[in-house]
């Protein structure tokens, strides 16, 4: 970090705890390989609460993909999959993950081998194709949780379908683990999950304060526990710590970007290999990215009185499983709550459900709020399609136009 960069950042003290939490998690997960502790690979939108309640270790290829991207190791892994015949046009998380499964490459030497797989298509159809390939490669069973897409209105029979699949998932897990599912245990885990999600919401909401103590670049890093470990006590403890630090910042008048002048919203998955540069670029132009559509994806509600039905609804209603008109409502809500001056959209070649429709979303947002939108063409982990000079120029021009 250069001296100039240091000025742009106020370090979040809780980061060390978060790092330790994730290191411990990965050490445990890697140590479980080959033991009688079952390991399940799961998609980021999947119902992890069932795994935690059955003492299954959840492993997230998407989180690993983000790590590979941030450490700029994704391209070499993707190339392994490309040599096998996977098109460069398919999701770079999937390509990198398939590559890493084969070579054990990446910053932590690959993920522990799965005993079974759980894919939930509430984030995309790609995860189902990707996990099908994993099921063939590792020769392990796959459970697909199918969450019907919501075009404007959610139907009762869709909720019922997902709820029934939750029960099928329970039987699947009982068969895989040889253990009996305990409703009591599940209720405890669901409660902890709700608590963690609520605290994560509170963390994100601290950025409503002007100036903001927190940026979406911080959120991208600190979301790791809510994605991977929600349902565990240590996650609840961690987000309490983080929330309190952010509230303290507000009290002390500390802002994430030293001279916050513009407040922006981010849309889509981060450009992992370019996070630091982009963070610096916006900060040095006095722009703070105060919220995003991505980390909000885990801010779902689960009702303890009817966990299965409410979970079915919650998992169906995530941001990527709803139609463009419903996404517009959420974007407008974010723009208003966070008092944003504009919107930055990452048009992500790897993620069609997130990216197709952005042009229409951008027009709607500008029409309804009068605020401008910047669209950056990139890929979340495949840096070969990224042009730093072009993005820099466009970001600077955009911020200049804000006033």
């Amino acid at each position: 970090m250069t001296a100039e960069e240091r000025k742009l950042y106020v370090k979040i003290k809780a980061t060390e705890q978060m790092k330790q939490l994730m290191i411990d998690y990965y050490i445990d997960a890697k140590a479980a390989e080959g033991t009688d502790k079952p390991v399940c690979w799961i998609t980021s939108g999947g119902p992890v609460e069932f795994l935690i309640a059955m003492d299954v270790i959840p492993v997230y290829p998407e989180n690993h993909g983000a790590m590979c991207g941030a450490s700029r190791m994704s391209v070499e892994l993707a190339e392994v999959a490309e040599k096998m015949g996977f098109s460069r046009d398919v999701c770079s998380y999937a390509r990198g993950d398939i590559g890493s499964a084969i070579t054990h490459g990446g910053p932590i030497g690959g993920l522990p081998k799965p005993d079974f797989l759980l894919a939930c298509n509430n984030i995309c159809g790609t995860v189902f194709k990707w996990y099908q390939e994993l099921a063939r490669y590792f020769d392990v069973p796959l459970f697909l949780m199918d969450t019907p897409f919501i075009h404007k209105v959610k139907t009762e029979h869709a909720t019922d379908y997902v709820r029934k699949q939750c029960l099928e998932l329970v039987s699947f897990l009982e068969e895989q683990t040889g253990k009996i599912f305990s409703e009591e245990r599940f209720a405890k885990v669901a409660l902890l999950s709700v608590e963690a999600v609520e605290l994560w919401k509170q963390v994100l909401e601290t950025a409503e304060h002007r100036p903001s103590p927190f940026t979406c670049f911080d959120a991208f890093i600190h979301m790791a526990p809510i994605v991977t470990l929600r349902g565990k006590q240590e996650v609840v403890d961690y987000y309490e710590l983080l929330r309190d630090e952010m509230l303290q910042r507000i009290e002390d008048g500390v802002s994430a970007v030293p001279e916050e002048k513009f407040r922006l919203i981010w849309d889509n998955i981060p450009i992992w290999y370019e996070m630091r540069n982009l963070g610096n670029l916006f900060a040095s132009n006095n722009a703070c990215l105060v919220a995003d559509t991505y980390t909000n994806a885990w801010a779902v509600d689960i009702r303890i009185d009817d966990p299965l039905t409410s979970m079915a609804d919650a998992y169906m209603k995530v941001y990527l499983n709803i139609s463009i008109d419903l996404m517009v409502e959420q974007l407008l809500n974010l723009m208003e709550r966070y008092d944003a001056d504009g919107l930055v959209m990452h048009s992500n070649r790897s993620c069609k459900p997130y990216s197709l429709g952005q042009y229409d979303l951008a027009r709607e947002v500008t029409e309804k709020t009068g605020k401008p939108v910047l669209i950056i063409e990139a890929d979340m982990t495949d840096s070969r399609v990224y042009s730093e000079a072009q993005v820099r120029e466009r970001v600077e021009a955009f911020i200049e136009s804000l006033g």
Partner: protein, 374 residues
């Protein structure tokens, strides 16, 4: 070429001319659709004509404002057709949840193309298991209700009648494929695939009459396929007839396929006894599956290999649109199975706005050389 076939072939230059003429004659409604999992029988029973939209070979002028360049050309050029007024004869559109792209195209279409009727049929992705099949039946019943509210009544009697017509059509198309497997010389592959595709553009009872005439007129082998290399082809939509003609020109002929506008379109029948919705659901689950659907007990590669063997094909062409994720994900696994079975194959990716048959010619020739050398 016999009369019926010649008349069918004339329609290929302007695929919607028949539908426009039908609408003028009858004053009835025409609904566009994209996916082969659309239960056309329900639309037909309501007195409307379902027509399939499969993109267009064109440079887009209007869809670029809505869809990125990394979206498949099937979606981009279809949207362009709607936005430039080429589909103004449609009274509505039916979208089935197929892939991530079609899911978003439905929203963009509804918000921008603005046809009077828009319906999303969110079929399950899982096609096995009681919960999935129950959901499928309820979603189909929900679809029937929406069609009834917006198009016209769908009585059980009318639905049974439509199912019979559609079953007859599938039977005739299956017969055509059977005849071509026996002797591909009776008709070229571009003609055969158009006979299937045109079935989704012409009212079924009329299409049945035409097909019957075509089949009756087939007077044995034309001898055209003598010495031609039998090939199998797989992909989603096959609407590139110049490509198919080129394959024939260089000495190949496609004797069977796994296109959703080919074999998958007429595969499996709706049981004619029992509840019609239940029967339609049964057929959708039974027919050859698209890579977007999850049927864990099925091995798609194994099924394709069986069909390759039965058709006597000695090589295969994977023909897909660029940026088609479901097919791209299945390709390495199916390719591997074909390699292991000693079936040489070729993988082609095209985009509707830059089709260059000449560039593909040498690659198809190379495949044929490998096959002949085997």
């Amino acid at each position: 070429m016999d009369d019926a076939l010649a008349r069918m072939m004339e329609l290929r230059d302007d695929p919607f001319q028949w539908a426009r003429g039908w609408k003028e004659r009858t004053g009835s409604k025409v609904l566009g659709f994209f996916c082969g999992y659309v239960p056309e029988e329900i639309i037909h029973a309501a007195g409307a004509l379902p027509v399939r939209i499969t993109g267009d070979n064109r440079v887009t002028s209007k869809s670029g404002a809505h869809l990125q360049s990394y979206c498949c050309s099937l979606a981009r050029t279809s949207l362009d057709m709607a936005l430039t007024g080429d589909l103004d004869f449609l009274d509505g559109t039916v979208f089935v949840h197929t892939c991530d792209t079609m899911q978003r195209l439905s929203d963009i279409w509804r918000l921008n193309a603005c046809f009077p009727f828009h319906v999303d049929l969110v079929l399950p992705v899982r096609f096995e298991g009681e919960a999935a099949l129950e959901y499928m039946r309820l979603e189909l019943a929900n679809f029937r209700k929406k069609v009834e509210e917006n198009i016209g009544p769908v009585t059980d009697a009318a639905l049974s009648e439509s199912i019979k017509l559609y079953n007859r059509n599938r039977e005739l198309l299956a017969e055509l494929y059977e005849l071509r497997r026996e002797d591909p010389g009776i008709m070229s592959s571009d003609q055969a695939l158009w006979l299937v595709a045109s079935s989704a553009l012409i009212e079924k009872s009329e299409h049945n009459v035409l097909l019957e005439e075509v089949l009756e007129g087939l007077g044995g082998s034309s001898g055209q396929s003598d010495g031609k290399v039998r090939l199998f082809a797989a992909g989603s939509v096959m609407d590139q007839y110049d490509f198919l003609k080129m394959v024939e020109e260089v000495g190949g002929t496609i004797v069977d396929d796994d296109f959703c506008t080919g074999h998958r379109y007429f595969d499996a029948q709706v049981p004619e006894d029992g509840d019609p919705i239940e029967g339609i659901a049964r057929r959708l689950a039974d027919r050859g599956s698209c890579p977007c659907k999850y049927l864990p007990s099925r091995d798609r590669a194994g099924r394709l290999l069986d069909r390759i063997e039965k058709s006597g094909a000695r090589g295969a062409i994977f023909f897909q649109f660029k940026f088609c994720d479901p097919h791209s994900f299945d390709y390495p696994y199916i390719k591997k199975a074909l390699d292991e079975a000693g079936i040489p194959s070729l993988h082609l990716e095209i985009e509707h706005d830059s089709v260059s048959v000449e560039q593909l010619r040498t690659r198809v020739e190379a495949l044929l050389e490998i096959v002949r050398g085997n």
